[in-house]
């Protein structure tokens, strides 16, 4: 695991000390809110509907057991005993008091964590495949590159006032679990003959103008990563529209200028920058890489796993949905669902965080991950330990067997917390999960991604949900618009609007009708919802939603 250098440590401590002084000056009235706001945002502190919210970065989603325990302590000591894991591999604390935030930041710094650049028009927390370093299909662990990018971008003097926020995602596997095509820059490690390098994608993003990123460079040698990314960001820094915040993201620049023009400018700038990177970054990279080495894996028989599967049906169901293939056949990647039916997607209590930290220490080499799907990952688990772990998770209320199914819903905080929201999203997720649990059909339905946002900013990724739900305010009443056929993987597609929205009473039955329409139309149990949708097109799903007449009118 990456360990902070003395430089990182000193930087973070200094930032906390500065912020402590700023908070004091805000409280004694010497700073106005207008003066203080940009300062608090730089330190991850938002004001939501009912309280402040502290957003803490979990770089590339990787957490140690010790860090997880510290998050539990922070949740208990300064918040209401829980934390909310988000789609951007952050954790948010929803109830801090202003005067406590500097202490919280110090407690984070104690375990090498911080809230720097989780807000503002900077390069944000770099996200990565949550199975990085463990997945069977991986070409190379993307996290050393994510860490290199983090070090390069943190406090980068040229990039503190970009036209708008800037998000980078990295994956090292052909199956894209990091939604790289919906980021300002997406990096995918690819092979070309003997070499590996990056496919560079630019201009993706969700929000009010969702766009799938385009490939700006098919193959970038790995050594050129920083100069090339810097060339993109610096081209964007000049071109990005500062006149209109809704048109300020790089996706709009790519759209308005055209990909070819952007590519030409980036390549020219790259030509200037490349000689300036004289190899120091490569030396740094090799140091970083050593910290991400695979732990020495347990060697033991795996028979107990098969025996337990035969004897314990609950365990079997859980292994069917919550395990992924590890690069070592005797190990598995465990996804711990934070989506118990009816619970708030992404929330974990302090005791749950501790239970996860203990399991990680005892069985998982002390490693944990946070996924953008708001679940927790135990990346390296020997198969012989799975049954015990399942038992432990059950006690902690964490053994829900639903990963990738209808009730594994992504939902943004929506109007229960977020000041920008136009409708609630958490209750909709709770109702849908509860309803499908009653119907007892989610295992039969199979893979289906429902994603919910509480406003057009699309923090809940609804555009790339197989079923996306967007909460709006229609004349003072919550109204939910459905999009269909979205996909956040390597075949990324923005979902299409189905038609008029639904009230909060109508939305769950509407989702149910979609699912039943799929079950009737699928060719076999193996054809997923998305495959059926792609085969039939939207028409039969619209009919299911609106009946024959209205579907034709829509």
């Amino acid at each position: 695991m990456y360990r902070y250098t003395e430089f990182d440590e000193a930087f973070v401590r200094e930032r906390v000390a500065q912020f402590r002084a700023q908070v004091e000056r805000r409280i004694d009235g010497s700073l106005t809110e207008d003066e203080f706001r940009p300062l608090r945002l730089m330190n991850g502190l938002y004001l939501q509907l009912h309280a402040y919210m502290l957003r803490v970065a979990i770089p590339y989603g990787t957490l140690s057991a010790g860090q997880m325990r510290q998050l539990a302590t922070i949740a208990e000591r300064w918040d209401k005993g829980y934390g909310h894991f988000t789609t951007r591999q952050n954790i948010q604390f929803n109830w801090p008091r202003l005067c406590d935030v500097p202490d919280m930041l110090d407690a984070l710094a104690d375990v090498g964590m911080h809230a720097v650049q989780t807000s503002g028009n900077t390069i944000r927390n770099v996200t990565a495949d949550h199975f990085a370093g463990a997945a069977a299909d991986e070409i190379e662990d993307p996290r050393p590159y994510a860490e290199l990018l983090r070090q390069w971008s943190t406090d980068h003097p040229e990039f503190q006032f970009l036209p708008r926020k800037f998000k980078i995602a990295v994956t090292g596997a052909p199956a894209d679990r990091a939604v790289t095509k919906a980021h300002d820059i997406g990096l995918r490690i690819v092979r070309s003959g003997q070499d590996t390098g990056f496919q560079v994608i630019v201009g993706g993003g969700l929000g009010r103008t969702p766009m799938i990123g385009s490939v700006i460079r098919e193959f970038l040698p790995k050594a050129d990563l920083l100069p090339y990314v810097e060339a993109i960001v610096s081209t964007y820094n000049l071109l990005g529209r500062r006149d209109n915040k809704y048109k300020a993201r790089i996706k709009i620049a790519v759209h308005e200028e055209g990909l070819d023009r952007i590519r030409e400018l980036v390549e020219r700038r790259f030509g200037e920058l490349r000689p300036q990177f004289a190899g120091a970054d490569q030396k740094l990279l090799s140091d970083i890489r050593a910290m991400f080495a695979l732990p020495p894996l347990t060697r033991a028989p795996v028979m107990r796993f098969e025996t337990a599967r035969r004897r314990d049906p609950a365990f079997r169901a859980w292994t069917d949905t919550n395990l992924a293939r590890h690069r070592d056949p005797d190990h598995a990647i465990v996804t711990v669902s934070l989506k118990a039916h009816g619970a708030t997607p992404g929330d974990a209590t302090a005791p749950q965080m501790r239970a996860l930290a203990d399991i990680a220490d005892e069985y998982g080499y002390g490693e944990l991950r946070v996924s953008h799907e708001q679940n927790i990952i135990l990346p390296h688990i020997h198969r012989s330990h799975l049954h015990e772990i399942h038992g432990r998770l059950k006690i902690a209320g964490l053994s829900t067997a639903n990963v990738g199914l209808v009730s594994d819903i992504i939902a943004c905080p929506g109007m229960d917390y977020c000041a920008l929201a136009t409708a609630r999203s958490i209750p909709v997720a709770q109702w849908i999960a509860t309803r499908f649990e009653e119907l007892k059909i989610e295992h039969d339905i199979g893979p289906l991604k429902i994603k919910i946002s509480g406003c057009i900013n699309a923090c809940g990724h609804h555009h790339v949900g197989h079923i996306g739900i967007l909460g709006l305010d229609r004349a003072g009443v919550e109204n939910y618009q459905i999009t269909l056929g979205g996909d956040g993987t390597e075949d990324a597609v923005i979902g299409q609007r189905a038609g008029p929205g639904f009230s909060s009473e109508e939305i769950v039955p509407a989702v149910e009708r979609l699912v039943f329409a799929y079950l009737e139309m699928r060719k076999s149990g193996d054809e997923t919802f998305l495959e059926t949708y792609r085969r039939t097109g939207p028409a039969p799903f619209r009919t299911a939603l609106y009946g024959g007449e209205r579907a034709r009118a829509a």
């Binding site: 805000r26 409280i27 106005t32 509907l49 009912h50 309280a51 008091r97 005067c99 708030t344 109007m415």
Partner: protein, 100 residues
């Protein structure tokens, strides 16, 4: 045709906790919507908002929110403001804890 002015209250978040507060007629910040001053005159609303904005060492982001009259005092008109009087719907946290 001139726009009809709908009654308003002034609301903000308390500086320290971020909790929702409302301005009363006697210039206090209350945590209860029903104790807020209901303002039905546009010019007066603007003056009161200026008053509130000056008190930036007590509150953050004061604004005018639509409200309506009830026998118990002013009540929020929009569902966003209703949520702000209570707290989130997924946990009994925030103001609803103290409510009966």
């Amino acid at each position: 045709m001139p726009r009809i002015f709908t009654p308003k209250v002034i609301t903000a978040n308390a500086l320290m906790e971020g909790d929702v507060v409302y301005l009363t007629a006697d210039d206090l910040w209350t945590r209860h919507h029903r104790e807020a001053e209901l303002i039905d005159d546009e010019a007066h609303a603007q003056v009161r908002l200026l008053d509130a904005e000056r008190r930036c060492d007590e509150v953050v982001g004061p604004y005018l929110a639509d409200a309506r009259t009830t026998p118990d005092g002013p009540a929020p008109a929009h569902f966003r403001e209703v949520l702000r009087t209570r707290g989130p719907s997924n946990y009994r946290h925030g103001k609803q804890v103290g409510l009966v």
